[in-house]
């Protein structure tokens, strides 16, 4: 990507979008991946540090059942994806967390695993949540085949032909992950254990590495099965076709509460992205190289929008908006930049007339030419949430109340007497602890509601504080009314982290969980967002990007 040092970065503060604009669900649900997305961070690092990759273990039978190890060898450490491929009966294939078997299961191992390690992992990893991993494992995941496309590619390759490109484009991946667990889940290494490693300090880097290696595994597996079936006449995947395959991901409500449960992390992601946009808008000039880079990025975005399919009515409408707006941006670029001062800001302000899809796509486009002033913000996107855990009980009731009125004005304005505003409730099912969203009027369990209805909790706290001596300390208030402790902590976090809260009612009748999911997935770097209901979505990762095996370095 072209970056220039001739651009001048002025004070960007005045160009930053306020949380009241940014933290709305509808806008978060229009988020696009940017160069600050986590998979882009991984790919930049791998190239900059000249990581090497190999596959020291490939023990696979003709049906594609067996195990494999892929190593990523960095300047200081090695990480290994340990993969187990299974023969899954069709009736057992479900992407839901309540599944008990998968087409393939994986762990990311810290180092190079011994035979003993592989045997230990083979006894546990295929069982996923029912097994145990340990501190040497950084993630635990599984994937299912895209049945139709996988079979098509095997058949074609086995007969010496390449797969049909329209079939490939319609799906976009051979396998899709259905859960990628990290951060101490099921006995795996705690985040604290690895957070000080440069290569894992940015968010979700172990998970991204695991998924990237899984993509390589999926193409190796399909070629292996085709070779076993077709013998000498079998073909391998054409490099261009292979590059258009990503690795899919299928996800449900489990992802949505994550953003609400990690307010500091959410703030840091959002604040970094907004700072990046502000820095670009503050630039005095647009160099020819950066203008060309913008045109290239727009061309890629238009190509992506053409190939992006969904049958979900909400997404169909959004895709229409996106395609229209990318066309409008293309038309605008024919006369941009002109003589205007701060040309990037002028372009952004022109773009505020676009749909939310168009605006957020424009944001991603504006960041693309500016790695030199944007990429360093990746360092600010992690969070030590323990730092913000402790409540300041020396604060007065009056100060806390004022903080709520300023930071949660959006929440205090909601009429919770209207049943539409309390129509749903978040709960955890006893089935594998799956997070779910229920209807308060129709379903049992509302008394076990999870504290994700932040707006209503904020209103409840504000009301309770009103009944107290305004000079009393929050410590006294909480001693008497411990049920507000959860919300007091969040209110104090919000004071320090303005992008910490999703500024919408998360239990309203018309709330769309997929909006939360799209925001998080865009930060991962996901493309081809394809909802399968208002609570379930498929996406693709790494589509169009190189494979680990493509990493060759000159010199």
């Amino acid at each position: 990507m072209t970056t220039t040092s001739t651009d001048q970065c002025d004070d960007p503060g005045a160009f930053r979008r306020p949380p009241s604009d940014v933290m709305r669900l509808a806008r978060m649900g229009a988020a696009h991946p940017t160069r600050l997305s986590f998979l882009r961070m991984l790919l930049r690092r791998v190239v900059a540090e000249r990581w090497r990759f190999d596959r020291p273990v490939w023990q696979m039978d003709a049906k594609g059942v067996g195990r494999a190890v892929y190593r990523a060898i960095g300047p200081e450490r090695t990480y290994s994806l340990v993969a187990f491929a299974h023969d899954l009966p069709e009736e057992m294939r479900t992407d839901r967390v309540i599944a008990t078997a998968w087409d393939a299961t994986f762990a990311l191992f810290d180092g190079t695993p011994s035979e003993n390690d592989l045997d230990r992992l083979e006894a546990n990893v295929p069982r996923q949540e029912a097994g145990r991993v340990g501190p040497s494992e950084l993630s635990l995941s599984r994937a299912n085949r895209s049945v139709r496309l996988f079979a098509h590619v095997v058949d074609r390759l086995a007969s010496g032909r390449q797969p049909d490109r329209s079939e490939m484009a319609a799906v976009g991946y051979l396998m899709r992950t259905t859960a990628v667990y990290g951060s101490g889940k099921f006995g795996a290494a705690d985040r604290e254990r690895i957070a000080d490693r440069a290569e894992l300090s940015e968010p979700f880097q172990a998970e991204m590495l695991s998924v990237w290696l899984t993509r390589e595994f999926s193409t190796d597996l399909v070629e292996h099965i085709a070779a076993a079936k077709g013998g000498e006449k079998a073909a391998r995947l054409d490099a261009d076709i292979k590059r258009e395959l990503g690795v899919g991901n299928s996800t449900g409500l489990g992802m949505a509460p994550f953003l609400v449960r990690h307010p500091v992390l959410l703030n840091n992601w959002m604040a970094a992205r907004e700072e990046a946009l502000a820095r670009v808008r503050a630039l005095e000039f647009a160099s020819p190289q950066s203008v060309q880079s913008l045109h290239d990025a727009l061309e890629d975005a238009q190509s992506n929008a053409t190939d992006w399919h969904s049958e979900h009515p909400i997404q169909v409408a959004k895709l229409a908006d996106l395609r229209t707006d990318l066309g409008r941006i293309a038309a605008r670029l024919k006369t941009w930049p002109g003589e205007e001062p701060r040309p990037w800001d002028a372009l952004w302000r022109w773009g505020e007339e676009l749909s939310l899809e168009g605006q957020e796509a424009l944001l991603a486009l504006l960041l693309e030419p500016h790695g030199a002033i944007v990429d360093e913000l990746a360092d600010e996107m992690s969070a030590d949430e323990a730092d913000c855990f402790r409540i300041d009980g020396r604060m007065t009731v009056s100060t806390l109340r004022q903080a709520l009125e300023e930071g949660f004005d959006w929440a205090l304005a909601i009429n919770f007497d209207d049943p539409q505003q309390t129509a749903r409730f978040w709960y955890v099912s006893e089935e594998k602890l799956e997070p779910r969203l229920g209807s308060r009027a129709r379903e049992a369990g509302a008394e076990l509601e999870q504290p994700l209805c932040i707006a209503r909790l904020a209103q409840g706290l504000h009301r309770a504080l009103g009944g107290w001596d305004q000079n009393a300390l929050v410590a006294e208030f909480l001693l008497a009314e411990p049920e507000h402790r959860f919300m007091v902590r969040r209110a104090q976090v919000q004071q320090r982290y303005p992008y910490a809260e999703v500024r919408d009612n998360l239990i309203a009748e018309d709330m769309l969980p997929i909006d939360l999911m799209r925001c998080k997935l865009a930060f991962f770097g996901a493309s081809r967002f394809d909802p399968r209901s208002d609570k379930w979505v498929r996406i693709s990762l790494f589509q169009g990007e190189p494979y680990p095996s493509d990493m060759e370095y000159a010199g």
């Binding site: 006893e430 779910r436 411990p482 507000h484």
Partner: protein, 230 residues
């Protein structure tokens, strides 16, 4: 809840099949948070309980087992009876014993180092994570003393003193004062402590009280509108 570790559908957290298990501290904290909520604590206090258990576990002390001991005691008691009588008055309202989580959170909130006797406090070792927070505020090690021993916590989170004695105590009165003389024991030298299967099962039983029983409607509503065999 099931005892069959191979059946993940029927239980949330699956206790490992072995009699002793090592958990990550994230896992220990998350399980204890849910268990504390299931045992009746408010969400905010349950977060404190999870923090306390994980803090101890990171230091080689069996925080989850100690919290379970406390949850079994507190489960049928009202918060009003186990909370400190006042923000600067750390004695039980009804004269029996204080919840160390409610007490610890209250002391931490107010940055209060009480001058006189504290308690009696139930499972007093659970107070240490909050003493650490106070030590950070005071920028000084603090010494927790009881009849027969003492333990110190430094602002860096190191503990030293009669830890085994404190861990064994069910209930005791305490005092808290600054301490400039304690030795420090780096956390990284401490081996993780295995947790008994029965402890994990009992904590899980509390945690499952925060979950909603499954129904076919809820199961279907949470998934894709189409099948996954495409």
């Amino acid at each position: 809840m099931t005892e069959d570790g191979s059946d993940p559908i029927q239980s949330g957290f699956t206790p490992p099949p072995t009699d002793l298990a090592l958990l990550s501290s994230n896992e220990a904290g998350a399980l204890c948070l849910k268990a504390a909520r299931g045992a009746g604590m408010s969400w905010g206090l349950a977060e404190e309980a999870g923090y306390a258990a994980a803090w101890l576990y990171t230091r080689g002390i069996n925080g989850p087992e100690l919290l379970l001991r406390h949850l079994n005691w507190i489960a049928d008691r009202a918060y009003g009876n186990v909370r400190p009588a006042g923000h600067e008055n750390p004695v039980p309202s009804d004269g029996t014993a204080l919840c160390p989580v409610a007490l610890g959170a209250s002391l931490s909130d107010g940055c209060t180092i009480p001058q006189g006797t504290i308690g009696p406090v139930q499972v007093p070792v659970l107070l240490l994570p909050f003493v650490h927070q106070l030590a950070v505020s005071a920028a000084s090690a603090l010494r927790l003393r009881w009849n027969g021993g003492h333990v110190s916590v430094s602002p860096e989170g190191y503990v030293s003193g009669d830890m085994d004695d404190l861990t064994a105590l069910d209930v005791t009165e305490l005092t808290l004062q600054t301490d400039d003389t304690s030795d420090v024991v780096p956390v990284s030298q401490i081996a993780p402590v295995p947790i008994r299967r029965s402890v994990l099962s009992d904590l899980n039983a509390y945690a499952m009280q925060t979950t909603v029983p499954a129904s076919s409607a809820s199961r279907e509503d949470a998934g894709s509108a189409a099948g996954d065999n495409d």
